[in-house]
Symmetry: C2
Amino acid sequence: MRDAYLVGAAQTDYGAFPHESYRSLFATAFEDAVASVDGEFDRAAVDEAYVGTLGVGGRQLGLSGPAVTEYVGLDGASCTRVENACAASGTALRQATLAIRAGAADVAIAGGFEVMTDMSGDQTRYWLGVSGETEWERMAGTTFAGVYAQMADAHMADHGTTREHLSRVAAKNHANGANNPHAHLGFECSLDDAMNAPSVAEPLNLYDCCPTSDGASVAILASREAAEELTDTPIRVAGAGQASSRVGLFQRPTLTGIPATTDAAEQAYDEAGIDPADVDFAEVHDCFSIAELMAYEDLGFCEKGEAGPFIESGATEPDGDIPVNLSGGLKSKGHPIGATGGGQAVEVFKQLRGEAGDRQVAGLGRGLAHNVGGSGGAVTVHVFEEGWA
Amino acid sequence: MRDAYLVGAAQTDYGAFPHESYRSLFATAFEDAVASVDGEFDRAAVDEAYVGTLGVGGRQLGLSGPAVTEYVGLDGASCTRVENACAASGTALRQATLAIRAGAADVAIAGGFEVMTDMSGDQTRYWLGVSGETEWERMAGTTFAGVYAQMADAHMADHGTTREHLSRVAAKNHANGANNPHAHLGFECSLDDAMNAPSVAEPLNLYDCCPTSDGASVAILASREAAEELTDTPIRVAGAGQASSRVGLFQRPTLTGIPATTDAAEQAYDEAGIDPADVDFAEVHDCFSIAELMAYEDLGFCEKGEAGPFIESGATEPDGDIPVNLSGGLKSKGHPIGATGGGQAVEVFKQLRGEAGDRQVAGLGRGLAHNVGGSGGAVTVHVFEEGWA
C-alpha cells in the first residue's frame, strides 16, 4: 500500500468575519497551506481535492467543492464535496488519504470551510441549532446542546463525573487557546468562571459549549515519491479510521460514549500498529465539554468511566502524559463545522514540526486527530507520525 | 492495484412518489441490489458506503448518508455522503472503487437518492430551478435550461446542429424508456411531437428537457477476493475517471462541449487501456438533449461537431454501433439527482448480465457510464467490463 504524507497545512483565523466569503476563507487557508510546504509547490500537480462543508443556502447550492478549488486555481484537480456534519473535513482527510493509497492521486488536497455567523445569507447556524436526528430529536425540539446534555447527565450518574470535571475541560482548552493566534475565543477562563456560567442545557452551561465560527482549513497530502520532493519533515498518515453508528443518540447502545469513536480509533491504531498509550498528543472533538471526557475513554487514553479523575490528574494538560487540544480545541479555537477536522490536522502538523509557537510542546512524535459528526453518527480518527515509513 | 467488481445493482422506479421517503426509496433500491447478488450476501461484511444526494431541507440536515445506511442495517459500515450536484452518485461509485483499490474495503456500497417532487418538505427542485453558478448565473436569473440552451445555440451556430438532431435524442430515448419498467416517462414520443413541443428556453423545448424525479439507486462493489464469493458474472470497474472544471459555463473555454467529460473519459480509457471505439454501449448524461450530443463528441464516439450527423446515422440506436441510453436515459427514465449516476451503473450491470428484459441488446461486453454535475463543474466516467481481469 502507498503511504500518504501530510506536507502542508494551514487554517484561517476562526471567528465572525462578515467581510469574508466561503471562497475568500478557503483561499486564505489554501495559500497559507501552500506557503507551509518546504519544497516548490506546483498547484497543477494536484490530482484530487476533497472539500468538507455542511452548509448550503445563500451561496453555491451544489458543487461548492469545485467552486472553491477553481477559485484557488486548482483547475486540473478532480474535486468532491464530502459531508458528514461536523466530521466533514475529517472525512475529506481520509478520502484524500485513500485516493493516494489507491494510486488515484500523487498530490491531494483535503480541506473544509463554513460560514456560520452570516444569518442572512446562510442557514447553517439555524440548522445546527435545530439539527441532530430529524424525526425523534429535532422535531421533538431537542438541540445539539440537549443531546450532549443527556450524555453528560448519564456520565455523571453512572461514573460520578462532576461539574468540576466538565469545567476543567473549558479551563484547560481556553488556557491553550489563549496561545493560539487563530482562536475564536482566545482568552483564558478560570475554573470558577467556567463552573458558574449561565445554564444552556442542564447540566451544560455556556462554558461547556463551543462557539459557532466562520473559518476554513486546508491540508496538502502527497504520496511518498511526491512527498520526497515537497518536504524535509515528513509526517505520515499512519492510520486513517472512519466509522458510523446510529444518527440518533436514543438509538445507540450507550449514552456515555460514542461507539463510532471506538470503532474508528481501532481501525486507526491497527493501521498504525500502535496502542493508545503510544499516542503523544491529541486534538479531540470537544464540541461540548462532555465530548472531550468521553473521547478520553473511547480513544483508550483512560479506562471507561475514569475521564473525570483523568483530567483532574493533569494528564491532558500541556505538561501531562498526553496533552489534549493544545490548539484550544473547538471550545476556544472555535468550530466552523466543515473546517474543524482539517483544523485539527493543522495543529498536529505544527506540533510535529515544532512550529506551534507559544503553545509548542517539545518531543512530540505521534499525534491523533478525532472528529465527530453530529452526536456520533460519523467519526474519523487519524494518527500522524513524524518521519518516513 | 486491487480491482473493484460490481456484484449487485438496482434502482427504484423513478417518478413522483408522495407516499415514499428518502429512506424508503433507498431501502427499496438496496434490498433489490442485495437480491441481484448471485451469492450469499452478508450486510455485516459491508465496510464502506458512499451515498450521493444534493438535497437537504425538510429531512435529515446533516449525516443523511449514515441516516439511510443505518435504516437498511449497515451498522458496521463507515458511511460518507458525497455531493457533486447531479454527479453525486457517479462520485459515490468512484469513491467506493477507490476505497476497494486502497484496501480500506472488501465490500462497499455506492448509492444515491433524491426526493424532488415534495415541494413542501424539500427544497431540492426549487434549488435545481435556480441553481448553477451562483454569482453570475443564478443571481442573474439563468436556469439550468437556460445554461444548456446557450450550449445548444452555440452548437447549432458552430456545427450546423439542427432542431431535428436535438429531437432525435428525445425520440430515441423515449423509445428505449418505453421498454424500461422503472422509467418515469416510459412512453414513446414521435420525432414530430418532440420537434413541436412548447419552448422552455430557446432553442430547447419541453422534450429537450428531462423530468425531475424521486428515486434511489444502489450498487454493490467488491474486491476480487470478495467478488469470487459473490458473483458468477464478474463485472470489473475497468476505469474510473473524475474531473472538475469551472462551475460557471461562462468561465469555461468552450460553449459547445464539457471539458471535464473529456478529462474524466481520458482517465477512464487510460485505466481500462482502451479507445472510445472499444466501448460497446453507454449511458450518458442527457439532462438536456444537447448534453447527449455533446457527450458523443466529448467521449470520443464521434468527431467534434459531428454529433448531429452521428445520431442521424442511427449509430446510437439499440441496433447501432454504440447504443446510447438503452435505459431511456435521464430524458425518459428520469433524473432523481442523487440517484442518477448509480442508476446508470444499474443499466450497464443489467445489460452486461443479459438481464435487461425487453431492451436487452445481445453481445455487449463493455459499457460506459457518464454522469455530469451542474453544467460540467464535475464529471465522472466509468468503464465496466464483463469477466475477471
